[in-house]
Structures are given as C-alpha cells and as structure tokens.
Amino acid sequence: MTLTTSGIDSKVLISMFRTMITIRRFEEQSKREADSGKLRGLHSSIGQEAVPTGMCAHLGDKDFIFGTHRSHHHCIAKGVDLRQMMAELLGKSTGTNKGKGGTMHIADIDKGMLGANGVVGSNIPVSIGAALSAQVLGTDHVSVVFFGDGAANQGALHEALNLAAIWKLPAIFVCENNRYAESTPFEYAVAGGSVANRAAGYDIPGVLVDGQSVLDMYEVSGEAVGRARAGEGPTLIEAQTYRYHGHFGADNPLAYRTEEEEEHYKEKDCIKRLTDYLVENAIATTEELDKLDQEAVESVAEAAKFANDSPFPNPEELFDDVYSDYPKGALVAGMQLDGLPDPGLVTPPSS
C-alpha cells in the first residue's frame, strides 16, 4: 500500500480515476444515443462523478446503494456492468432490468444497486430498510442513499432521518447538492440554506463536503461508513456539486443560470482536479491517465455495440415479472391480445 499526501492508497486513487472517467465517457455515449432518438428522458450525471465514486470506494457488493432519476454515475461507481446498463437504456432484453425499467430505474441487486427511482425522495425510506435488514441480521453492511437538493424538501427524508437516528441504523444519506432542482435554485427552495444542518435536529452528524473533490468525498465517506459499520448510527452528508447539462435532454440551463456560474464550477471539475493531483504528486503520468481514458472509451464503445446489437424484448415478455406467481390469463383480461400492431421496430441483426 502506497500512501499519498492525501493519505489515500495510490491504487485507490487510480481506481477512482478510472471510475470517474468511465462515468463521463458513458454519459457522453448515452447522450449520443439519446440524440440519435434511441432513448428519451435522459438525466445526465456529468459533473457529479466524484460523489458516488468517493463513497462507493468504501463499499462492497453486499453494501446497498439507492439512486434517483439521475443515477448512471451511482450504478457505474457501484460496479454495474456497462453493457447491461447501455442495453437497458436502449430498452433491450439484455439490459439490467430486461428493458422494463430504462434510464431512471437501473437496478442490479448482485452489485448492491437497489435501484434508481423516478419519484423524488421516494427511495430515501426504502434505503433505511436495507440498513434495518443489516441491523436485524447482524451483518456489518451499510446502506447509502443518494438524493438531490430538491429531494431534501420531501417529508420522506425527515421521516427516514428520524427513524435511522432513533434506531441507530447503518444508514448514510448523501445529498448531491447540484444547486438546482429542475429550474429551481437551491437557495430559493431550501430554508436555512443548508441540507447538512438538518442533521442537527436529529442529533446525528451532518457534514458539508466539496463534492467536486473526490479526495474530500473519499475521506468524509470513509468516516460515515466506519461509523455505520461500527454501529454508531447514521450520517447525513451534503456534497456540493454541479450538473453540467440541463435537467434532462431538452432543457436549456441558461434559462435559469448564467454562463459565468457554469464556468466557475467547470473550473473545479472533479476529473481535472484528480488528474492534476495525480500528476503533480507523481502518482501517475499524463500518458498513464490518457491510457486509462482510452480504455474507458473502448469499454463504453463496446457496451454501446453490445446494446445496439441486442434484441428488443419479445412482446410476450410484457407479462413477465408482474408478480412472482400469478395466472397469466388474469394479466391480459380485458386486453385485446389479437391484432397486436407491429410497433415498427426492427431488431438489429446480431453481428
């Protein structure tokens, strides 16, 4: 183990670089797929890579994370397969969710990713349920929920914080404060000007961290995970970050923010800063990092090819997985099964 000035093993630093650059390249590719009309409703995580990367570096496959509508970065940081993710975005049967969930709902229980969720705040109470399982079953697993600054105003957060605090659950609440909920600025919507401060009401640690610094994110996350594993209860982390793109594909963010502000945050870009740190401290050379970038580009390209070559689900799959066990006839009652239209989609030939 090689400790660096940050106190972090150099292998961990390199691995975090790899994760962040992979997220960025993946998101660039998902945007290209969306621009070519293959998927709708994309919420890009570009700019926010450091937050789940610093956290998930402390987690194993048995620790659970929970996401939001904007969750590709959470999934990648937790180790979900890029090919299956991209296939899910394109609605293919080889996707993580067999094409049932799509961009807002990627889940992979084997990797401890218990789902992105399209309802703002909805996953927060669910996440403390996984922490409850760990406590009751006596494991040292932790549960981490990511949510936006907008979600901080849902009652669900407050109920979950209180429960986690009274039961000392191994739960970690990570607010990704990217300054906006759709077009609504954080300072308009969040009274008191802080999410981290809300922890005080529940007498648990509330930590404000620069979410564009993966080193800071790693350190703060390590403390929270350590407390949770040691049975010392929950932590609320507010990671200050920024989404570089609009809220979703078609949104023009300059309608509610300025170019100067965008520039200000982009100057503090998490990948750029880690690159500088690694090079300045002679932990890696620019060439080595370029090579990692190139590898990320290639694995994303491979994922895109896999996704594009994969078949769409067969129409009959519509009726799979509604329940574990249910008579199929009851699912289609009242529906016209005959005369099903050709949806006009061609499954590409696998090459």
Binding site: L39, G102, E182, S183, T184, P185, A189, G334, G339, P343
Partner: protein, 340 residues
C-alpha cells in the same frame, strides 16, 4: 367556419384559460414545481413556465404572490392548497405527473375529498389539481400512468379528462369556478398533438358531468376518455369505410359520470366498446361496462367490450410499450368482434 377557426394548441388553451380565470377572480392562485421557475432570481423569472409550459408567462401578469414556485414537497403544497381552498382562495395546484400521487395521497383523499361532507357542508373546497398522465413516451412505470380510477373511486372528488384544446379550455374554467375539488388529467402525448379544434378567445365553460357526442351513428357506440377519444374517432373512420355507422362518445367527465348519455346511446346502437388507458382492474371502463349490463341489458346485441392495457405496470422498452398501450387497431378489432 372557414377563416373563423381559431386553432390553438392544448397547452396554449390551458394557458389562456388560466390567465382569463386569474383575471376574472383575484382569489385564483397557481402553485407547483417550476410553474414559473428560476425561483427567487428576478433576472431568470419564468425560466420554465411550468414543466408542461401550461403556466408560461403568468408570473409576469399576476406576480409572485399568486404564481408560486414550490419546493418538491407535494404533501406540503397540495395540503396547503386544501387549506387555502377552505379559507377563501381558489388554488390551481399542479401535481406534475399523476404517478406522484402517492406522495400526497393523504391530502387529496382524506382532506380535499372528505372535508365538505365530514364537516356537514360547512366548508367549501374549490381546489383544482392538474396532473399529467399517459404512456407512449418511453418514460417507464412511474411516469406513464393514468390511474383515473383511484380518483373516481373517492366520493367528493370530481374528475375531468379533456380530449383536446376546446374541451380543455372549457373544462378548466368550470373546474376553477366549481366549489368542489376537481382533478384535471392532461394526457402528455395528446398535449403535443395537432388539433383542428376551434377555440374561441372569449371565456366559456363546459359543464362538468356531461359527456359529448363527437359523431352520431346507429350501429355501435365507442366510448373514449380524453386521448382515447381520438383513438375512437380514428377507429370510427376505418369502420365507417367498411359501411358501419359509428357513434363516438367523448366522456370528458369520469366523476360525475354522464350515465344518461351513455345509456341513451347504447340503447340505440345496442353495442358498445369502451376504451380506457387505465389499468384494467376496477377502472372506469369496467364501471361503464357494469352500468350498461345492469341498465341496458335487454337492449344489447353483444356483451360490452373493454379495450385497456394489460394488468401490468408500464414497461420502458418501446418494443413492449407499443403493445401495452391501446391504439386504433385494437379499438377496430374490438369493435369488429362486437359487430360480427
């Protein structure tokens, strides 16, 4: 009509009626997430004008006191809408997608729906909730639902489903002026479709609880709800080219339900197909089917038929969603089964 036809989009029609009702009555206010947008930034006011752009520009005319951006706190601001309605305002509150109903269900079902009755009629509840419904945009299970039936189930709530710009404008005006809570369902795919409706500029109302007959016919009745009325109209065209005379009912209100218009039509045509995008169990189509079976059994030449999605959540993949959603072909095929 010729040049007299005034075409506006569904979104413009709603925007216009909101403006007119706010001008007409200073107790009308609008609340919701990003209804103006850019909250608190004077230079970025009206950044969105609503997630569906229904409220665009209203903040400039009516100010921040009456056009309020809310945090993402549906229980909070829909509950506030209930309290404001009980105390002198006529709030129009936006629940962005009907799938988010779960977050604020208590406020709608336990308070908005029940207060008037529970308090012996001593409190009025002039609350309007507008919300987006509809599959077909690959938005997956949480952003594509219709769930009319959940609302119609509750006594105390009125529920309306416009089918185009003309009916939207008239139903919104009625909803806002109504002293009971009214939920208005806006179908997202339909909001983006072109329409030939003539929409008068001057304010008008369309009565809540009255269905409209879109075309008269004698061989079969097709009943549509909002967007599915369009499917019925397309199906009618195809069936008519086969020589059938088709009557299409545009339901418009699902609570109260215009049972008279439905029964009168079915007694005439003796055959009925009901097209509902809601989940098939206990939905509005089942309700109408039961009504027809109970009240017009002796007139029927064939059992009533429902066209609905299957009893599954809405799938993301467009390859699956295309099979899930009702469409013209399914309506035509159901109608043929009933006719033959």
């Amino acid at each position: 009509m010729g040049d007299k036809v005034r075409k506006v989009s569904y979104i413009q029609a709603v925007n216009e009626v909101l403006r007119q009702e706010m001008e007409r009555d200073s107790s009308v206010i609008v609340m919701g997430e990003d209804v103006a947008g850019g909250g608190g930034r004077p230079d970025k006011k009206d950044a969105w004008g609503g997630p569906m752009r229904l409220t665009k520009g209203l903040i400039f005319e009516f100010g921040e006191n009456r056009v309020r951006d809310t945090p993402i706190s549906e229980a909070g601001f829909i509950g506030a809408g209930v309290g404001a309605a009980a105390t002198g305002l006529r709030p129009v509150v936006e629940l962005m997608y009907v799938g988010f109903l779960g977050v604020c269900a208590d406020q709608i079902f336990n308070n908005a729906a029940k207060m008037h009755y529970m308090f012996g009629g001593k409190v009025k509840m002039p609350l309007t909730i507008m919300t987006a419904t509809g599959a077909g945009l690959n938005n997956a299970a949480q952003h594509s639902e219709t769930v009319y039936s959940v609302f119609t189930h509750y006594p105390g709530l009125k529920c309306v489903v416009p089918s185009g710009p003309y009916t939207a404008k008239g139903l919104y005006a009625s909803a806002i002026r109504d002293d009971d809570p009214v939920i208005i369902f806006n179908n997202r795919p339909a909001m983006g479709l072109r329409s030939d409706d003539h929409v008068p500029e001057e304010p008008y109302t369309i009565p809540i609880g009255k269905a409209s007959i879109s075309v008269e016919g004698t061989d079969i009745t097709l009943i549509g709800i909002g967007y599915t009325t369009r499917l019925c109209m397309e199906a009618a065209e195809e069936l008519e080219s086969d020589g059938y005379s088709v009557e299409v009912i545009d339901l418009l209100s699902i609570s109260p339900l215009d049972t008279e218009t439905i029964l009168e039509s079915v007694r005439k045509t003796r055959k009925v197909v009901i097209v509902d995008e809601d989940y098939p169990r206990c939905n509005v189509a089942s309700d109408i089917s039961a009504l027809v079976a109970e009240e017009a059994f002796d007139y029927l030449d064939a059992p009533p038929k429902r066209v609905t999605p299957p009893h599954t959540s809405v799938p993301y993949s467009r390859a699956l969603e295309a099979h899930w959603i009702p469409n013209k072909d399914k309506v035509v095929s159901a109608a043929r089964q009933v006719l033959e």
